[in-house]
Amino acid sequence: MNLIALNPMTLFSALPGNIAQGIIWGIMAVGVYMTFRLLHFSDLTVDGSFATGGAVAVMLIINDVPSPVALLAAFGVGLLAGMVTGILHTAFGIPDILAGILSQIALYSVNLRIMFGKANQAVSVDKYYLLVSLRNIPKSLITGGIFALAIIIVLYWFFGTEKGSAIRATGCNPSMSMAQGININSTKVLTLALSNGLVALSGGLLAQYQGFSDVNMGRGSIVIGLAAVIIGEVLGEALFGKRLNFFGRLLFVVIGGIIYYIVVGVVLWLKMPSNDLKLFTAIIVAVFLAVPYLRAKSQNSYAKAAKKGAK
């Protein structure tokens, strides 16, 4: 690889766009955080509901629905998608990962239907008013930032309420929750619904940003969401340690999304083929998941005990 051929200016000029994309994915990651961290539910619905959000938003906008309303509709359809997964899991006893996969696969067909059988649908920023667009990155940064911040504030409030506390208890200890009168099936369905609502909203934003929705735009989004959650957590805990409260955690999830896209920008700038990006993402997530585990293990290992015991 010829490093001299790399122009630092192209990296810097791409940076704001990467950040804007990172914020949008960060919103998606906040949805993943709700299920993965609070409910301890690995929800794979998101790969489908992310594209659903994009499809709903674009189809409504090109039919002259104002983009904020279209985004709200995307959120609503995402709620329904999450609810389906929740019902498959709670009412029909399907294990969490499988319930998510079933919804995800079903959504692929649903998404094609929404887009009138086409694999992608364009929405031009020249013809319609869009909330975010890669053609207007400063505006996208501001709008995306406002969305992310508003969502974090609302969730911070929500998880402090009685309902939100019940959800946190459900994720932490289902037996205790039932003994305290919490209907854990309904809290699970509610969390999955809200999570996928956010994921779909994020998909609706990304479709506007890139100027089209694509039936495959959600593929692997769970991994990107997890990457953001984990990068944000590692960074937040490194910087703030125990002082990192719930608000900080949510904020760092979005920051994790931004960092992820900056890293992606750098990797692409280094002329890595974009086809290898998903492999790269999977490796990042695997490493970030493995590091805390291995670190704990190295402090508490048989090898270490053997060394000490041999003396």
């Binding site: 009685e162 205790m176 929750s177 305290q180 209907n183």
Partner: protein
């Protein structure tokens, strides 16, 4: 207060692992009754408590609490009537949530949970006072995660949570079995004081026959899914461990009581 009539439960029905666990258990508790339940392993003690709590539906029979037939209620719906403390100190509390938050969850047992604050300032002050009474120093650690507490502290907290909203019936399922003797004694004292102060109706499963005699006003012995001995008041307070052992030997057909009962 509690009327259970002829409840039956068989696990794994129709399989080779079929096991009749409750074979027609009937028990009638008056308000303020504090019953201790003893019996060998597999006698149906914990199963009876689980039947009342609604961990699964019973096959037959009825469960009535304070005039309300709860036989068809799912577990979370029965919680409004019940306070529960489990054998495993990890079961009764949410480890990743704060001490105050756990209490606040318990304070809303039986209420619909909406968008009001999960814990209010006034509640925090109230819990602070309540925790002080436990004398475990928890009142100054209200924002600590429960996962940091010891088993004894967690059981004490669970007891407080179970009685925070006065339950119609307090179910204690071997709640000191996982604790060291000193801590167990402390938790039992706390149990007594909480039951007496709030005039609670309570059921306590135990393997310790001395505790079973010392605590409460009534004692029930179970064997093979049935109540075989039910004694209360004056008569109960005169019991000795040897009486219970004799009784146990009698029903188990000369077979000796299991080790845990012997050692207790």
């Amino acid at each position: 207060m509690l009327e259970i009539t002829n409840i039956q439960k068989t696990f794994n029905k129709g399989t080779i692992n079929e096991k009749p666990a409750l074979c027609g258990v009937s028990l009638h508790l008056k308000p303020g009754d504090f019953v201790t339940i003893i019996g060998g392993n597999g006698a149906g003690k914990s199963t009876t408590l689980n039947a009342i709590a609604g961990v699964w539906p019973v096959d037959d029979g009825s469960i009535i609490i304070d005039g309300e037939n709860i036989t068809g209620y799912p577990e979370y719906k029965r919680a409004q009537f019940l306070g529960r403390v489990f054998q495993d100190p990890m079961t009764g509390t949410a480890a990743t949530m704060e001490i105050g938050e756990n209490l606040a969850l318990a304070a809303r047992r039986g209420q619909s949970r909406g968008l009001r604050w999960g814990i209010t300032r006034a509640e925090k002050e109230q819990y602070h006072e309540m925790l002080k009474v436990l004398d475990l120093g928890l009142e100054d650690r209200m924002s600590s995660k429960v996962g940091l507490l010891s088993g004894g502290q967690r059981q004490a907290l669970t007891l407080l949570m179970a009685s925070l909203k006065k339950p119609k019936l307090l179910l204690l399922d071997e709640h000191t079995a996982a604790l060291d003797p000193k801590t167990a004694a402390k938790v039992l004292d706390l149990t007594n004081s909480i039951v007496n102060k709030n005039k609670l109706t309570a059921m306590m499963v135990t393997h310790n026959m001395k505790d079973a005699i010392r605590m409460g006003n009534r004692l029930v012995m179970m064997h093979e899914g049935q109540i075989i001995y039910d004694i209360e008041g004056e008569e109960k307070s005169k019991l000795h461990v040897s009486d219970l052992l004799a009784k146990f030997e009698e029903v188990s057909g000369g077979k000796f009581a299991n080790d845990r009962m012997m050692l207790a």
